[in-house]
């Protein structure tokens, strides 16, 4: 028998309550880690964007197109070596809940994105097929698609059913880069536009490759100045800034996620502290007996703190371990909605610090109560 035996025995005393407390703490820490990871990933979406690519979109908003006629002038802009463009398609696969990004890109798009890794064979097959599609590996896995398969997307912006043949699969060349999109040829979208709207010649946004990232702000300024008084004024920004602006569409999501995370932690702190206080109150008689036997206030405190630490440690193992398993090992990414979700060491440390705080606060109340406990009174109470 050691002091650990006593701690273990006390934890087993009300086993159901101990298990429920550990579960509650585990779920709270899991939620906290998930929210922080989600938030951290959103905040770092910009890092995935490149400083050497400029995105030129309509100043009125990304949903408004730009004329294809801008292409030649953009290509002539000093410091720009490549011009590509893309348009949001917004197709639905079978059910609106099966959301994934799908957009049309021109032939030069892939050369601007070395992060999109495709085998030569798939690239050639994709380029050769007018209705061909290039699909991220995660999206392929999600729907169990195979190369060569023809799929139908229901148009939302462009009504009707549109067929695509999967010609290639791409993988991300760096962590955090999306692997859940479907890309197809812009010339195919042009055909659809021509058939449905009687015209073509519009694109969603331009992607420009710039030779010197340091000069990107000046180039962006020059482009925007060029089109300032046109029918379609532009907003040019680095891809990084563009991504951050896109994340900003969620509103002050960071504030809400932080607030929810803190509320969850605070709630479980109260629950855990109350449980420990109840547990200690039930054992005042026994604490008095321990003190009669010669246990000092410090020795009793260490026993109470050890119990709290074990509960918090188990909760941390459950919550943080669960999140690590889900995001870092199983690489769960909310169906491709937020690629690159991974618990960072910083978030893990924060969760550990919170677990430690919960253990300290939970132990503080019973420790204070047992230190104030007068053995003589407590023994009389027991008797």
């Amino acid at each position: 028998m050691t002091r650990a035996t006593l701690v273990r025995a006390n934890l087993r005393r009300r086993l159901r309550r101990t298990i429920l407390t550990v579960l509650g703490l585990g779920i709270a820490l899991f939620l906290f880690v998930t929210l922080r990871t989600f938030l951290h990933t959103l905040q770092t979406v910009g890092d995935v964007g490149s400083e050497s690519r400029l995105i030129v979109s309509n100043r009125l908003g990304i949903v408004f197109p730009l004329p294809l006629a801008y292409r030649a002038r953009l290509a002539a802009q000093e410091g720009v070596h490549t011009v590509s463009y893309a348009s949001w398609f917004g197709g639905i696969y079978q059910d609106p809940r099966n959301f994934f990004a799908n957009y049309a890109v021109d032939e030069g798009y892939l050369s601007l994105y070395p992060e999109i890794v495709v085998s030569d064979e798939h690239r050639a097959a994709f380029m050769a097929d007018r209705t061909g599609a290039l699909v991220g590996i995660r999206l392929m896995e999600r729907f169990g698609w195979t190369v060569g398969q023809t799929i139908t997307l229901q148009g939302t912006i462009y009504p009707g059913e549109h067929r695509f043949t999967i010609r290639g699969v791409y993988q991300a060349g760096r962590r955090g880069f999306d692997e859940s999109s479907l890309l197809f040829h812009h010339r195919y979208l042009d055909e659809i536009m021509r058939a449905q709207m009687g015209g073509e010649g519009f694109v969603g946004w331009y992607v420009l490759g710039v030779s010197d990232p340091d000069r990107a702000p000046q180039i962006a300024q020059a482009i925007d100045a060029t089109y300032e008084n046109s029918a379609s004024p532009t907003r040019s920004q680095t891809e990084k800034a563009f991504n951050l602006a896109f994340v900003g569409m969620y509103g002050n999501i960071g504030f809400f996620l932080n607030a929810i995370g803190m509320a969850v932690v605070f709630a479980i702190l109260m629950v855990s502290a109350n449980t420990m206080a109840m547990s200690a109150r039930e054992r005042f008689g026994e604490i008095a007996v321990l003190k009669t036997l010669g246990f000092t206030d410090g020795a009793v405190l260490r026993l109470v703190v050890a119990e709290s630490l074990v509960i918090a440690g188990l909760g941390l193992a459950l919550g943080l371990g669960g999140a690590l398993l889900l995001f870092n090992f199983a690489e769960f990414d909310l169906g491709g909605f937020v690629p690159g979700l991974a618990v960072t060491p910083g978030v893990a440390l924060m969760a550990a610090a919170i677990a430690l705080l919960i253990a300290a606060v939970s132990a503080a109340v019973p420790a204070w109560q047992s230190a104030r406990l007068k053995v003589v009174d407590a023994l009389r109470y027991v008797a």
Partner: protein, 238 residues
């Protein structure tokens, strides 16, 4: 040789603004190896005196020396360490830890000693053997009878080989047969192991087993009976 020397001890409790004197200018000497019974009506201060001797409470005035150490001036932390070394306490309601086995309950006070794990276990087994419970050492308190629980309580009190054993109505919650067994055990600890025992009791029959009986009446001690024993006994109540 005097083991316990109580001189001019008073204890006053405060209930709000009212001072309630429980013990008044009390003197008592307990000899090494003595078995002393403390009797008296409820509220006479028996348990208060026992708590003072155990270092669980401090006197309002006066001096208490046990084995040459003045305990009335000790700080709580010093008193705790002193209790662990010198006092074995037997409770009326046994006060065993319900989630520990008999063996673990007996080992509990040994956690405060420098003994190794194996030594602690051996000591606890020996104590349980002395009280005749070696067959039940792995039973939990709920699996034992009242008499057996009290025997575990006694084993816990003697396992550290304390200077002084203090028993607060050790037979108060037992049937007559179990009470008799416990008294025989205490008598044996006194006779065979020369343990100094102070027992608070309401039961005159239990008090008869002690070498000396003192009555507490309104905070003052009266000697009621003294029996000469082969083992060192005696002392005086003034």
């Amino acid at each position: 040789m005097a083991l316990v020397e109580v001189q001019g001890v008073s204890k006053v409790y405060r209930r709000d603004t009212v001072a309630v004197p429980v013990l008044e200018n009390l003197d008592l000497t307990i000899e090494q190896g003595e078995f002393l019974a403390l009797m008296g009506p409820s509220g006479s201060g028996k348990t208060t005196l026992l708590n003072l001797l155990a270092g669980l409470d401090t006197p309002s005035s006066g001096s208490i020396r046990v084995a040459g150490e003045e305990i009335s001036q000790m700080k709580p932390r010093q008193l705790a360490a002193w209790r662990a070394r010198h006092v074995g306490f037997i409770f009326q309601l046994y006060n065993l830890i319900p989630v520990l086995t008999a063996l673990q309950n007996v080992e509990l006070p040994l956690l405060l000693t420098p003994l190794k794990k194996k030594e602690r276990r051996e000591h606890a087994e020996t104590a349980l053997r002395i009280v005749g419970l070696e067959e039940r050492m792995h039973h939990y308190p709920r699996q034992l009878s009242g008499g057996q629980e009290q025997r575990v309580g006694i084993a816990r009190a003697i396992v550290t080989d304390p200077t002084l054993i203090l028993a607060d109505e050790p037979t108060g919650d037992l049937d007559s047969r179990s009470a008799e067994e416990i008294l025989e055990l205490l008598e044996r600890l006194n006779r065979e192991f020369h343990k100094t025992i102070v027992m608070v009791t309401h039961d005159p029959h239990a008090a008869e087993r002690a070498g000396r009986t003192l009555h507490l009446e309104k905070g003052a001690l009266l000697e009621a009976r003294s029996v000469a024993r082969p083992a060192p006994a005696g002392g005086s109540a003034q």
